[in-house]
């Protein structure tokens, strides 16, 4: 069975919710069942954000997750909160320029990418989430890169479409990192 239960977590402004929406949209383009559930609670006002994305080839029972197969974290509190949620054999992808802590678990695969630093060096800090999504797509196969590109065209407003070739370049760097 094809089932990806993904949690993406970090600060508001890091593109946490956009990352989730892009994945769900790309999943839809592959005729998968998808759900996307953003945090909307007081934590959003306090600056942290997370979202839960399910991409599956069967009907999705609940969009509310209590565990996940893949976790992307873009700050330390998110790693603390969600590390134990990852199922054995799952993966954690960490923005190592933002997350100082190390993953303690040994029954999962861990990928550290200094995404924020890479994005700053690239010249556009809003791309940090794309590096991490690249690794997620490579490791889980949850969506195909070409559908991720279509999702960018589908979600971004037209005046931002000029950025998409760059974002795809960044995605590939993330995939191969």
């Amino acid at each position: 069975m094809f089932l990806n239960e993904i949690i993406i977590a970090g600060f508001g402004g890091q593109g946490i919710l956009s990352a989730g929406r892009l994945l769900a949209y790309a999943g839809m383009l592959e005729d998968k069942r998808v759900s996307f559930l953003p945090s909307y609670g007081p934590e959003m006002r306090g600056g942290t954000a997370n979202c839960m994305v399910v991409i599956s080839d069967e009907d999705i029972a609940s969009p509310v997750l209590n565990s996940c197969s893949a976790l992307i974290v873009m700050n330390s509190p998110s790693l603390e909160k969600f590390e134990s949620w990852v199922k054995p054999g799952g993966i954690i992808i960490s923005d190592s320029s933002m997350v100082q802590k190390k993953v303690k678990r040994s029954d999962i695969k861990v990928f550290e990418i200094p995404a924020t630093q890479l994005a700053n060096e690239f010249g556009n800090k809003t791309y940090s989430n794309i590096y991490l999504l690249g690794k997620l797509i490579k490791e889980t196969g949850c969506v195909k890169p070409e559908n991720f590109e279509k999702a960018l065209y589908g979600i971004l407003s037209e005046k931002r479409h000029y950025m998409i070739p760059e974002e795809m370049e960044v995605l590939k760097v993330g995939m191969e990192y």
Partner: protein, 354 residues
């Protein structure tokens, strides 16, 4: 081929209302349903409709009363504390027998409570939060596609019976995104609106829309009429889903987003060799008693799961009427029951009935 989109539950409710011919929306913002207003503010002007942010929930529901009196399709939406404020108007609309659609995207209470998802307004929605012997139809969708289908259906039911229909969702349903398939064209049923107070240049006797009847004998006759209508609705409009009930040892009962979690529980239990089923009420009023008659002989017990202290479970008990044990488990205050929470209760019940 319709249109396939990835959309937020709240936005889908608003889009569905517009597709169903609703051209009048009155509301006041409150989390977690404000996207309904955002969408209406953007889209209503484009279709020649009215979007109005009222000065309060009380004003908004009275605007609904006014617009509904003219026979137009009208909607308001809010979340729990805002729906409490609307109760006086809701009772008046019930008394005046007006069709209208009200959306409640529930959050944790009582009082100002919190903004996380909850189902603790079940009593208020199904037993009358306002005064008087009234009912409204209460629909409980469990996903984004169903939010679309049932919002359209809510307007049809309201017009068919001249009654309010409430769409009872929660923060999860309002905030989540799923794929929705819109039909190319909505089949909008035509209804007799000869009762409406809508201007006729003295071509006929004027229509009167009111909820005041000071002669108790007259008021009783109105009430008898209301009760007959509610009986008719109970016969005609029960909706439910039976899931995996054929050989179920225990049948779960849940609506809305909790029913989705219960489907996860059923899968998990199957892996442990336990067969669970689900009765999912889709209409909360009328409560789908027929669903229980179909499965009553199958399980050892029923387990109702809610995001409340146990409200719907009372209707389950009334319906099962002592024929099988009825258990309850739930979370409150905006906490969502987990698969593990529910499995623990399932194992406990299994132990009681070995």
């Amino acid at each position: 081929m319709g249109q396939k989109l990835l959309m937020k539950g709240n936005e889908v409710i608003a889009e569905a209302a517009i597709r169903a011919g609703c051209r009048h929306y009155f509301g006041y913002p409150i989390t977690p349903q404000t996207e309904i207003m955002h969408y209406m503010a953007k889209k209503m002007p484009l279709v020649g409709g009215v979007f109005l942010q009222a000065e309060s929930e009380v004003a908004a529901i009275n605007m609904v009363y006014g617009a509904a009196s003219t026979g137009k399709r009208v909607m308001t939406s809010s979340s729990s504390p805002g729906i409490s404020l609307k109760q006086e108007g809701i009772s008046y609309i019930a008394g005046a027998q007006l069709p209208a659609v009200i959306v409640n995207i529930m959050r944790g209470g009582p009082g100002l409570g919190g903004i996380q998802p909850s189902q603790s307004d079940y009593f208020q929605a199904t037993k009358g939060g306002g005064h008087g012997d009234y009912r409204m139809v209460v629909l409980a969708p469990a996903g984004v596609q169903e939010l679309y289908e049932m919002t359209v259906e809510a307007f049809n039911i309201s017009d068919r019976y001249r009654i309010m229909t409430m769409i009872l969702g929660d923060g999860v349903l309002g905030q989540m995104m799923e794929v929705v398939n819109f039909r190319d064209e909505e089949k909008i049923e035509k209804f007799d609106k000869s009762w409406a107070a809508n201007g006729h240049e003295n071509a006929r006797e004027h229509n009167m829309i009111t909820s005041i009847h000071l002669d108790p004998a007259v008021l009783e006759q109105w009430n008898v009429g209301f009760q007959n209508k509610y009986k008719l609705i109970s016969q005609n409009e029960q909706r439910y889903e039976l899931y995996n009930c054929e050989d179920a040892e225990i049948i779960l009962v849940a609506y809305g987003s909790v029913s989705r979690i219960c489907k996860g529980v059923i899968k998990e239990a199957a892996e442990q060799g336990i067969t669970l089923g689900l009765v999912r009420p889709v209409t909360l009023f009328p409560f789908p008693v027929d669903a229980f008659e179909k499965v009553i002989n199958t399980p050892k017990a029923f387990l109702t799961v809610e995001m409340s202290a146990g409200q719907m479970v009372e209707d389950v008990k009334l319906t099962v009427n002592g024929r099988k044990p009825v258990y309850f488990t739930g979370r409150m205050g905006g906490m969502i029951p987990t698969v593990n929470n529910i499995m623990t209760k399932v194992l406990e019940i299994k132990d009681n009935h070995r």
